[in-house]
């Protein structure tokens, strides 16, 4: 690495030295608890649409915790946060736009 990259890496490392260790254990515990809730719901024989909504909601919260705390994105500068997240979410929205009308057509008309 050249001098610029080394300086940047050292600055990032210096910031990370101040992260509290306890918060990582809290995030880990929260992720385990949410997983336990998901498994509990599986045994409740809920309607599939309702269960899918709850499970995906919990998955999004878990994903946000992993990205924010474990991947340290919440400590990055705003430009980094917005560009990475907007790009991924935008592409996934595009996939959804193609997926849902066709999926709806299948449910309504049946597979021919």
């Amino acid at each position: 690495m050249d001098a610029t990259q080394l300086a940047l890496a050292e600055r990032v490392a210096e910031e990370q030295r101040h992260h509290k260790m306890a918060q990582f254990f809290w995030v880990w515990a929260a992720l385990l608890v949410m997983t336990a809730i998901e498994v509990y719901l599986t045994y409740q024989n809920m309607p599939p649409a309702k269960m899918l909504t709850i499970l995906m909601g919990l998955s999004l919260i878990k994903a946000a915790l992993i990205i924010g705390f474990f991947m340290h994105l919440r400590y990055e500068i705003s430009r980094m946060k917005w560009i990475t997240m907007c790009a991924v979410v935008g592409c996934l929205i595009l996939m959804t736009i193609f997926f849902f009308p066709d999926a709806q057509r299948i449910i309504t008309l049946g597979v021919k």
């Binding site: 890496a9 990370q16 498994v39 995906m56 998955s59 992993i66 990205i67 990475t84 592409c91």
Partner: protein, 268 residues
């Protein structure tokens, strides 16, 4: 005309970065963004198949499979915690703890892969298989899902592609972390693991043919370490950690969508 001095200085140490961090990390984020779209497409393909086939879609996961997948999830979540602790040890220049936490992460990842491989073996023995997989002797006649491949081929196709792609990522992550933790010492370990998995398992086992990923990993890592031997610093550990957390993140969607939504729980 007066001479002018054109400066071509190397960038200053204090030159600001567009994203406020070093290039390796930005490169890994870009890779992870593209990889998330790969998994997004696979998850959409699985969901599309499920919606389009309605009631004929298989729900093969009994309570034992759900418990197995839950333990696998716990392994991955714990591995993410140990990975964070490895990054923390690396920025504090504690090389011993860094290596120990990386090895703990590898152990949790290996536990995930072994449990997942056992789940695959069980499903394949029950008849939920792909034409490319070798048949399990003695299980054809009474297999529970013997007709699934013919009636609903989309289920095994999307299930094995999605979970197989994820298992491949976990295996590559283990190799990546092993090289960061142990460098050249990890190559003979990889070759040894490949030999054990290849020779000690029957030819129809997923571990038998999946083990070749380890051999391929050993060859590629051997070439990389031979061409560019180096001591990995805290930035390398952090970048490896980003990859590992991404693998964990993807499983947070596969686990509910594939396992929990396809559970066969009998009412008590």
């Amino acid at each position: 005309m007066a001479d002018t001095v054109v400066s071509h200085d190397v960038p200053s140490v204090y030159e600001p970065s567009l994203f406020g961090t070093y290039s390796k990390k930005i490169g890994m984020w870009l890779f992870l963004m593209s990889d998330s779209l790969t998994f997004g497409a696979l998850l959409y393909a699985y969901s599309y198949g499920r919606i389009s086939l309605g009631a004929t879609w298989q729900t093969p996961f009994h309570s034992a499979s759900i418990i197995n997948a839950t333990i696998m999830t716990a392994f991955l979540l714990t591995s993410s915690l140990t990975m964070v602790l490895a990054v923390r040890a690396s920025v504090q220049h504690n090389a011993k703890m860094q290596t120990l936490w990386l090895l703990a992460t590898i152990a949790c990842g290996a536990g995930f892969v072994i449990l997942h491989g056992m789940e695959w073996s069980k499903l394949i023995a029950e008849g939920l298989t792909l034409p490319m997989f070798p048949a399990v002797p003695g299980h054809e006649a009474n297999a529970e899902f013997v007709n699934v491949t013919k009636v609903v081929p989309q289920f095994p196709a999307t299930f094995f592609t999605l979970t197989g792609m994820h298992m491949l990522h976990v295996t590559l992550g283990i190799i990546y972390l092993g090289v960061v933790a142990l460098r050249r010492k990890f190559i003979p370990i990889l070759v040894g693991l490949w030999l054990i998995a290849w020779l000690a398992t029957p030819s129809y086992s997923p571990f038998h043919y999946g083990a070749h990923v380890l051999l391929l990993g050993a060859i590629v890592c051997g070439i990389i370490l031979w061409l560019k031997p180096k001591v990995y610093d805290s930035s390398d550990v952090e970048v490896a950690g980003l990859y590992w957390h991404f693998v964990d993140l993807v499983w947070m969607f596969i686990f509910p969508l594939v396992y929990l939504m396809s559970a066969r729980i009998l009412p008590t």
